[in-house]
């Protein structure tokens, strides 16, 4: 039986790279494979990982959402404010999610109705949401929450940190949506060829708007986790997160041109970034150099993606 190396690399490339890097890190640092460290990695990855799951939907439609970091900021700030003013946990969560959905709705509506490219619209939203966050918090952090709220980011469920459970659950739910629902199939279709979708009598604008709402809501979920974990909502929370989020999606094999990719790839991509961040920290590599490495990896991943396309 002939083993088709190229086919294997194409389908499982990321997974193989992931495993290799883990092995390398384990060899280089004795602390790496300890339970504490591994839990740390996954918990760190969860924050932008969950956002990356939402971003996957957007990128699958050949769009982009630069405002995810700012949506995290504002959702976190208002959630914190709600907790502090005594609104119950349930209501707080709903408010945060609503903000995420609302920002996403605005993004999607302007992109589809205004027929403006997603890059520009979400760039604007990035700025607007951040500004609103600073206004709301008056530039100061909102801190010190009660036990119930702190569970989201800091609690354990059957000794697995809650954020990890949310991450895995979100990924699984996203996978079901993408493979088993109309929204999912239309998402791939729109990224593949939006004209064809419109000509087939499907409301492409509606589904495009929905995916931006999905991106918004995952940002809000991450906001709750981050705010809870830090026990404080920072005015600049989430700033710059879009880089890691998009990187995770791209490394995970989703094409920026849309129509191709999977959330499990994004999961691996997010964990890969987490592993590399963590590994470099353990090895004492300067954080400045870490940025360089991250950039190289992103470019490398996209190059690999391009090579994969050529051999199809």
């Amino acid at each position: 039986m002939k083993i088709d190396i190229r086919h294997i690399l194409r389908s499982y490339g990321i997974l193989i790279a992931f495993v290799l890097i883990i092995i390398a890190m384990a060899i280089l640092s004795p602390v790496f494979l300890t339970v504490t460290n591994v839990m740390n990695i996954i918990r760190q990855s969860s924050i932008y990982g969950i956002m990356a799951i939402g971003m996957t939907f957007v990128i699958l439609t050949a769009g982009i959402d630069l405002s995810v970091g700012s949506i995290l900021g504002i959702a976190g700030a208002i959630a914190a404010g709600s907790v502090k003013s005594g609104l119950g946990l349930g209501l707080t969560i709903l408010i945060a999610l609503a903000i995420g959905l609302g920002c996403g709705l605005l993004n999607g509506a302007i992109i589809t109705l205004g027929r403006i490219t997603p890059f520009v619209v979400t760039l604007g939203m990035m700025s607007i949401a951040r500004g609103l966050t600073l206004i709301y918090t008056k530039g100061y952090p909102i801190s010190s929450f009660h036990e119930a709220f702190r569970f989201i980011g800091g609690g354990d469920l059957i000794s697995i940190p809650f954020p990890i459970i949310v991450f895995i659950f979100t990924t699984a739910l996203a996978w079901v949506i993408l493979t088993q629902t109309r929204l999912g199939r239309y998402t791939y279709a729109i990224g593949g060829n939006e004209e064809t979708v419109k000509l087939s009598g499907i409301n492409a604008d509606l589904y495009k708007t929905i995916v931006y709402m999905i991106s918004g809501i995952t940002s809000a979920i991450s906001a709750l986790i981050l705010t809870s974990r830090l026990n404080s909502a920072q005015p600049v929370a989430g700033q710059g997160y879009e880089l890691d989020v998009i990187a995770a999606v791209v490394i995970g094999g989703t094409s920026l041109m849309g129509g191709r990719g999977s959330v499990w790839g994004t999961l691996i991509g997010a964990l890969l970034i987490g592993v590399i961040n963590n590994g470099m920290n353990l090895l004492g590599i300067s954080p400045y150099f870490q940025l360089v490495v991250k950039g190289v990896i992103i470019i490398g991943a996209v190059l690999l993606d391009r090579l994969r396309q050529e051999t199809v």
């Binding site: 199939r185 279709a189 979708v197 009598g201």
Partner: protein, 516 residues
């Protein structure tokens, strides 16, 4: 009067003139189609030689070979007494051949001068662009055209007539001896056409030759000296224009034997499937009215650019109409977008299957089921079992050759890709199917299969519209044929009621001209 199968002996006005261009024995084929078979074409200095033929006759292939875009499989090209060996566009431009395509190749956001000198801008000190010299040269080039044009006006701000002038000036600046014009009068009106002919006459008197492709037969006598007529890739005749009437030309363009098998027509019912009244859109069509009965196939004949595709897109809600009413199965329906159209049972199988009909990166299953996901969803989840069954049924009844339902559509052949597009609509059981060029680029065997499919859809009670530029196909498959010219339906025939010449005559805008 003329037997279209024997080429007339070439008659030159002056027999001692040296030939500028001689293309002889040119053959070219593409996978599945013989575009040109041993075609000759020549030019003498200072003549306008018209090239005439139906869509698909081989005109643009011949031109592209002359332009160096394609390489001929057989045959020779002699330019100014020298044999041309290499065929690349750059070499042909340098040799003095400039082509002005129908879709003008100007950069809209650059100025007239920058377009003319694209890639060859005059320089000062080797690096900086010499704007003054450019302006002077452009003004000099434009002088014989006798119009006022700012050399630094942006091209997008000019109307099509002026844009054409820029293209011609560019060709002259490249020292072209031969200018090929592809449907130059298509975007022009009245006085602009006259001005273009004046310009062409000037070109002639300065020794430039023009190869002039056009469907507007009535204009040819004003500007062309000779005409070559192509049909199905073969040269039928080359003769001085004065020796042929328009009827002669039409007859040479279309006369052919019926060799393909077309399905027997079933009888349509009396019920209406689709009725369109007064459909209009500025610049596209005016007052389009017709009806299609259930079980009937209505063909739309006409030349490319007559507006048939646009009319269908208006009916389908893909573009907004200015006026018009649409009735499906006798009931008036409001169609503001494609969703409304699909909801009311209308399907459009588009002209460009790869760009508008398929999602190349997705599977056969996803493409075929795209229109029915909404009908097979329970509690938000797609019922893949039902979908799989329906798609498998489609694949087998349409004869789609694919290793599996998960096969990426990009990897299928053209004919099979078209069938996947069809399956996307058949699976929904629509009331009206609009086919736009359904057999373009498909081999003969697959064509017949598609005709049979259309017949079976009609037999199942749907109303079918078939837009086609292939004369034989559009005359023999449908029950009735509507001929569209310049955005209007100029004539309707029943099957067998008209000759090819008559249909072509109406398609060219001549009405009853051609004798039977």
């Amino acid at each position: 009067m003329l037997d279209g199968h024997r080429p007339l002996h070439l008659l030159y006005a002056q027999t001692d003139v040296k030939t500028l261009l001689r293309m002889s024995g040119i053959s070219k084929s593409f996978p599945g189609v013989n575009a040109l078979r041993k075609v000759d074409f020549d030019l003498v200095p200072g003549e306008v030689h018209a090239l005439v033929g139906e869509n698909g006759a081989g005109k643009s292939t011949l031109i592209k070979i002359l332009a160096g875009v394609y390489r001929a499989d057989e045959g020779e090209i002699w330019l100014k007494g020298r044999r041309i060996a290499s065929t690349d566009p750059r070499a042909m431009i340098d040799a003095g051949v400039s082509v002005i395509y129908q879709e003008l190749t100007l950069v809209p956001y650059l100025s007239v001068a920058e377009n003319i000198f694209l890639g060859r801008e005059p320089r000062r000190a080797g690096l900086l662009i010499d704007w003054k010299a450019m302006r002077a040269e452009v003004e000099r080039l434009l002088q014989p055209f006798k119009l006022s044009l700012d050399p630094f006006a942006k091209v997008y701000s000019l109307g099509p007539a002026y844009q054409q002038v820029v293209e011609i000036a560019k060709a002259l600046s490249l020292k072209a001896d031969i200018i090929v014009m592809d449907e130059p009068t298509a975007p022009l009106t009245g006085s602009e056409v006259d001005r273009l002919f004046e310009i062409i006459r000037n070109l002639k008197s300065s020794g430039v030759s023009v190869a002039y492709i056009s469907h507007r037969l009535e204009e040819l006598h004003e500007v062309a000296d000779r005409v070559t007529i192509l049909r199905d890739g073969e040269r039928i005749i080359t003769a001085p224009l004065s020796s042929l009437t328009i009827d002669d030309i039409i007859r040479c363009m279309v006369g052919r034997r019926l060799t393909e098998q077309y399905p027997k027509a079933s009888n349509p019912s009396q019920d209406e499937a689709l009725r369109v009244e007064g459909l209009s859109k500025r610049g596209v069509c005016s007052d389009i009215s017709f009806r299609v009965k259930r079980g009937e196939i209505l063909g739309f004949a006409g030349l490319v650019g007559a507006g048939r595709t646009e009319i269908m897109q208006l009916i389908y809600g893909y573009r907004r109409k200015d006026a018009g009413r649409i009735f499906v199965k006798g009931k008036e329906v409001r169609i503001r977008n494609t969703r409304d159209a699909v909801k009311h049972g209308i399907a459009l199988i588009p002209e460009e299957r790869k760009k508008h009909g398929l999602i190349l990166g997705l599977s056969v299953r996803d493409n075929s089921a795209l229109t029915i996901f909404d009908l097979h969803t329970r509690a938000g989840l797609i019922q893949w079992g039902e979908i799989g069954k329906l798609v498998r049924q489609m694949v087998s009844s349409l004869g789609i050759r694919t290793p599996s339902l998960a096969q990426t559509v990009r990897n299928l052949s053209g004919g099979n890709q078209q069938k996947v597009v069809l399956s996307k609509w058949f699976v929904r059981r629509c009331d009206v199917y609009i086919f736009d060029e359904p057999t373009r680029g498909i081999d003969v065997g697959a064509k017949v299969e598609i005709y049979k499919l259309m017949e079976s859809l009609a037999a199942g009670g749907a109303g079918i519209i078939m837009v086609s530029s292939e004369l034989l196909e559009v005359m023999n498959v449908p029950h009735r044929i509507a001929v569209v010219y310049d955005g209007r339906i100029v004539k309707e025939f029943g099957r067998g009621e008209a000759t090819q010449e008559q249909v072509m005559s109406y398609a060219l805008g001549f009405g009853e001209k051609a004798a039977s």
